[in-house]
Amino acid sequence: MTGETILTRNFERSDSHTLRAYVETGGYRAWAKAQAMEPAAIVDEVKRANLRGLGGAGFPTGTKWSFIPKNHAGPVYLVINADEGEPGTFKDRYLLERDPHALVEGMLIAARAIRSATAFVYVRGEYVEPWRRFSTAVREAYEAGHLGKGFDIVVHRGAGAYICGEETGLISSLEGKKGWPKLKPPFPAIKGAFGAPTIVNNVETICHVPHIVNRGAAWFAALGTKTQGGTRMYSVSGRVVRPGVYEAPVGITLRQLIYERAGGVTGNGRLKAVVPGGSSAAILTADEIDVTMDVDGLKNAGTMAGSAGVIVMDETVSIPESLMVVARFYAHESCGQCTPCRESTGWIYKMTRRIVEGRGRKEDLDTILDVAKRGAGTTICAFYDGAVGPYISYIEKFRGEFEALIPRA
């Protein structure tokens, strides 16, 4: 199941990031076609393509676009979330560096669909080269006359906070405020950036749009499963022979991804566990990898596709230590706004660290599970629910490994 590559088709060209290379390979033809389409027709095409958000939540993209109030008089903003920060995820980086014009063209089409004249691209602060490459592409697009005629792109750099990848945290940060997620309702499509209706889409999601317009919704939908069309880019890292970004139809299984694409497991060669969708996804054991990697396939397996960051662990990896690292990340990155998240991320990190350092107590594991479950679903944004994924799954699936570290009384 190798299949056709769409998003990564030009990645082997050394000049793939240039306007010339992009146009040579058919770039900006979709934009020409879309200009003859009614906005509603574009939205409809994307809906029928079953394109789902590839940043993490997997929300149907066309449906999201249709939430913009009809006949809204003021400005509408398109915001591109290029604040790729989910641990284990590095696909948007490749797109920004190797095919930035795909994003520009996708934005032109998306902006037409939602009637937006201004878009912001919020680039992760640490992504210096992707920011340079994308900014150059924007400049080229202005010079070529694609931009500046009723549609402008503003490139904005973040300052390194994970929470600014949460769509309303991103909006707050974009507005010049502390990157705190906002209360919903109102949702961004009603009242988003600077109080205007706003659509926030992931880089990869928007890069798919020109292909959908070029080749049609039916083609795109057929690439995937019944509920999710197309391909997506899987970031595979950890104990595999060939870590990297692999584009595959969303129906690929986790086993295929690890063994057929990434070359199998390194180290002692024995797979122990896999995180399938970035650090916030629940962990899968070695015998749970025959799942399809689409949004619903992984949801049914009790985890999530998230950002498609696949972290592979072999038998040499300590699950308690991994949880400690993950817990430290969430404690460090919690924005501190909601009490349950602010307080329990730090508390759970302290408990996991104590266990790893051999100072655990037998009640600690149940306390972590209880604290995690009590806080779940009580906060403004999904950050804490993301943290709860690993807290619970690592302990429930590998409890013996934790217990072995706790001194007997």
Binding site: I163, A331, E333, S334, C335, T339, R342, W347, E363, T378
Partner: protein, 531 residues
């Protein structure tokens, strides 16, 4: 108007009402920290969870607008468990230093832990440490470890004063309230952040370590600091006077009045009570003869003033009453002046510097009862009284409270006037430069030591109640005036402030129909009032 059911009780609330307020109208209290009716919705504390029919999990009440047909439950098992969890989260990093915390006894962590927590503590790791005892400004001090990061103080400075001194810095459980660089919490309303802080994070530098709050007694009152008449509570310490070196008034707190000050008061009003226990308070009547002052009895003082009034022709008497006197005082004085046919009467003395004013609460007129004085017809020309004194036309000049020597009038003119009058009488709570020139000093009770009413700039008549006993032999002005009326042939008809108010309501059309009962706790606006 949406109609909904809360804990089985049907209520109808105005459109846009959130579920905390809707529940309140049904007599149901939803516990909360970050929500404050005077501020924007933050939704951060996550304590105000309620169950709404057809909603998969508990929802915060503060950010949910009441909708028609909504069925809300505030006491389901699920909600109680969630609340308990949220309480635990709020407290895991809290220092639990109630024995040394000023908030103890009025702390919402204590109250809600007892009502909704009562879990067995299980956090055994080292708590997060943060800055303690950080002065934020002249009035407020921060203990960041006690803070629950509800952001009320931040929102207050952003939304009410618009001064924006405070922010939340750092992230996660290291988040802390702090000042933006180069700023100080020194706006004119800074003390309010202490009131709205639900815990002991922000405490009042003036009140700190004075007395435990459970020893305080409370009286509903009105701030005398300007013409706004903000509603306040006076908290007095009568049970543990030794804890505060005898200081009786422990603090003033704003009292909600939707039409006057809502939840707030200014710092000038909040900290303006120092004179009540000040060293310059007048405690006993005194007379000054040939440069030497000596204590007198009330009988002597009353006899002296009454005698002068009886003896002197009315045109040789001048009175400068005060817009700081209550309606009752002013009405009693008006009766006395009528009896004696005195016409040289005034109330307003121009201040040396114009008072500050803003669009929030503070009024330029620093007197609480200018409107009352005007309505009673006492608003004569004070400068004319002064001129008459300088022209040796007056034998008796009675000054209430004013310090003429600290006014806009030229000092030599005032001194000349005071020296050219045979008998200068001063009545007020505190000594000042002018009282030092009086031949008779009659000590008046401070506003917290007595009952009365003020009429604010909008014509709202509001009661203030006695919080503590008058200092020494001080008396309310209405009683001093009443005692002088007796020897002049007016039988004592009023033994309480309320009696004078009744007579005022009967005599002055603007006040017709009002009574202490009808004024209630938040006052009544005069029918003819024209702001």
């Amino acid at each position: 108007m949406p109609r909904l059911t809360i804990n089985g009780k049907a209520v109808e609330v105005p459109a846009g009402t959130n579920l905390i307020e809707a529940a309140r109208s049904a007599g149901v209290e939803v516990p909360h920290y970050c929500y404050h009716a005077g501020l924007s919705i933050a939704g951060q504390c996550r304590l105000c969870m309620v169950d709404i029919d057809k909603t998969p999990r508990p929802t915060i009440a503060c950010n949910t607008v009441a909708a028609d047909g909504m069925v809300v439950q505030t006491e389901t098992d699920r909600v109680r468990e969630t609340r308990k969890s949220i309480m635990e989260f709020h407290l895991i990093n809290h220092p639990l230093d109630c024995p040394v915390c000023d908030q103890a006894g009025e702390c919402w962590l204590q109250i809600y832990y007892m009502q909704h927590g009562l879990y067995d503590p299980r956090m055994t790791d080292e708590k997060v440490h943060k800055p303690k005892a950080v002065p934020l400004g002249p009035h407020v001090i921060l203990d960041a470890e006690r803070c629950i990061l509800c952001s009320r103080c931040v929102r207050f400075c952003d939304e009410i004063t618009g001064t924006g001194e405070l922010g939340i810095f750092e992230r996660g459980d290291h988040s802390e309230i702090g000042l933006f660089p180069g700023h100080e919490l020194d706006n004119k309303y800074s003390g309010n952040v202490v009131d709205i802080c639900p815990v002991g994070a922000l405490t009042d530098r003036d009140f700190r370590f004075q007395v435990r709050v459970w020893y305080l007694e409370t009286a509903k009152s009105v701030c005398p600091g300007c013409a706004r008449g903000c509603n306040i509570e006076v908290h007095v310490n009568r049970r543990r006077p030794h804890h505060a070196e005898g200081r009786r008034v422990a603090r003033l707190k704003p009292r909600f009045n939707a039409d006057v000050n809502r939840w707030w008061i200014c710092d000038a009003g909040r900290y303006g009570f120092g004179f009540v226990d000040g060293a310059d308070r007048l405690r006993v009547p005194a007379r000054r003869e040939g440069g030497t002052a000596s204590d007198a009895t009330w009988d002597e003082a009353i006899a002296a003033v009454a005698g002068a009034l009886r003896r002197l022709p009315p045109e040789e008497v001048g009175v400068i009453a005060s817009p700081k006197m209550s309606n009752e005082d002013l009405f009693a004085l008006r009766r006395l002046l009528d009896v004696c046919a005195v016409r040289r009467v005034a109330v307003q003395v121009p201040p040396r510097a114009p008072g500050d004013e803003d669009a929030i609460l503070i009024r330029a007129d620093k007197n609480p009862n200018s409107m009352g004085a005007e309505l009673m017809g006492l608003g004569g020309d004070a400068r004319a009284v002064l001129t008459a004194a300088r022209g040796r036309q007056l034998k008796l000049l009675w000054i209430f409270g004013h310090d003429l020597l600290a006014s806009a009038w030229p000092e030599p003119e005032v001194l000349e006037a005071l020296r050219r009058v045979e008998t200068v009488v001063f009545t007020g709570p505190s000594a000042n430069l002018t009282s030092a020139h009086a031949h008779w000093v009659l000590p008046a009770a401070a506003w917290v030591e007595r009952d009365g009413t003020y009429t604010n700039f909008e014509g709202r008549v509001q009661r203030f109640r006695q919080a503590t006993e008058p200092l020494g032999q001080a008396l309310p002005e209405w009683e001093i005036v009443g005692r002088i009326l007796a020897p002049l042939g007016e039988a004592p008809s009023a033994t309480r402030a309320e009696h004078w108010f009744r007579q005022l309501a009967a005599a002055v059309p603007a006040f017709a129909g009002l009574s202490y009962q009808s004024l209630g706790d938040t006052g009544r606006r005069l029918a003819g009032a024209n702001p």
